[in-house]
Subunit: 250 residues, 2 copies
Amino acid sequence: MLKEERHQIILKEINLHNKVYSTDLSEKLQVSEDTIRRDLNEMSDLGLILKVHGGAMSKTFHYPFNSQNPVYALEAKHVIADKVIGLFKKGMMILVEGGTTIMEIAKKIPADLQATFLTVSPQVALALAEHENIEVISIGGRLAKSANIHTGASVIYEIGNIKPDLCIIGTNGISQEHGLTDSDWEVVQVIKAMIRAAKKVAVVTIAEKFNSVKRIKIADIKDIDYLVTELSPNSPMLAQYNGAEKPVLL
Amino acid sequence: MLKEERHQIILKEINLHNKVYSTDLSEKLQVSEDTIRRDLNEMSDLGLILKVHGGAMSKTFHYPFNSQNPVYALEAKHVIADKVIGLFKKGMMILVEGGTTIMEIAKKIPADLQATFLTVSPQVALALAEHENIEVISIGGRLAKSANIHTGASVIYEIGNIKPDLCIIGTNGISQEHGLTDSDWEVVQVIKAMIRAAKKVAVVTIAEKFNSVKRIKIADIKDIDYLVTELSPNSPMLAQYNGAEKPVLL
DNA sequence: AAAAAACATGCAAATAAACGCAAAAGTTAT
DNA sequence: ATAACTTTTGCGTTTATTTGCATGTTTTTT
């Protein structure tokens, strides 16, 4: 049995049951517990799972958004938030998606910024509502439980009727070759509509997600106006995105 | 059972009931009370919960209730929630407003109920999204910061296009003479639209709010189908609502 | 004030993790 | 194909974590 194969099975098992015991995996996969532990360590280092004493758990069960819980790569997300906030100007109409990075942005918006935010995420809407001078407009629709954002035809339609100055999206997969990708069809439809509608598009992502590719394509790199990461704009890791029709790197 | 698994369950339990007893948890999770105490200590150190003598509470709850007896109001809302849940039937389309009582209802919905909920409150939407079998549809719009619910013409319009089986609203003011009243014009418009749209209207309120009157009228008592309080239906305090065109008292 | 319940602390048994090392398996170069 | 090399794996040992229990203290209730 290949190591990668084991990893796949472990991941599937965790997604299915939310937890796995090292002992169970050892028996099921017919390898020693040491090997399982090593597997779990590697997967944990990649941020795929949450390693705990006795096994591992899913990172995205009950933990992901619940405001008080620790956010993965928080420091990086703060850096990203600061950069993005630099794009905001008074009176702007800004369309934002959901996700932990966007949440950090929403929290860090300066108190004196006057702007209108539109969002498909209830969490982001609530975070934005904390700011006195921000007008918050929720774009309602069927709430997709996986990503906790509103999806469906009505959302696409609503987005089609607005022309925001700026649109900010997170992403699950990003690579020079395949562009932006995600694994949830409903979510992808919404993001595509957002990109179509907005005058400028900013993608926020931690560098860790570079070169990861998901099943469904959202857009090409050239469709992006700003690519915001925690890295310095001239970091070698960003060089690949510096093509002819390059987005501005922040 | 993994330690983190217990932590998740405890957290969920607290979010659901706002408080937990160590003894209950010990029995439910089949570990000693010492272990539960250690769990609660760790979670408390992480700032996830508020440890109290005998168990733990939600952090967000002990706080905002600077007013009188928080336990009383909470207990009352739990009683109300249980009564309202009795009105829910499989396949129903239920329109709900926002507010703390509605939040308690959203949390207590039985796991096996299959129904569609529509709401104008981001908080309620998120609470409902925790339930596997519930379809959640947000009615989006401008987020009114006072009440944290979506308001505005688009909301009214959207509500006009649906015909929910049941509509559940809280209220700020209720009296036999002046009916339901509130002080926020935008919010009132939304609630009026909800009442117009729904086949049946349930009003949930703690008895404390009886005989309070706010500036803007929402509806008459006769427009209500169910009046749900923590009191027994034949409580003398409810006698005043027992007129000719009375709502059903629960 | 006494009794009961909840809490903190130390301890020991059980279990799991980390580490080093050598054998086995897989890769690459000649 | 074989040798040299790297990676992976299992095992023994050591270290760390978790848990229940005994004990004594604090808090709550009566």
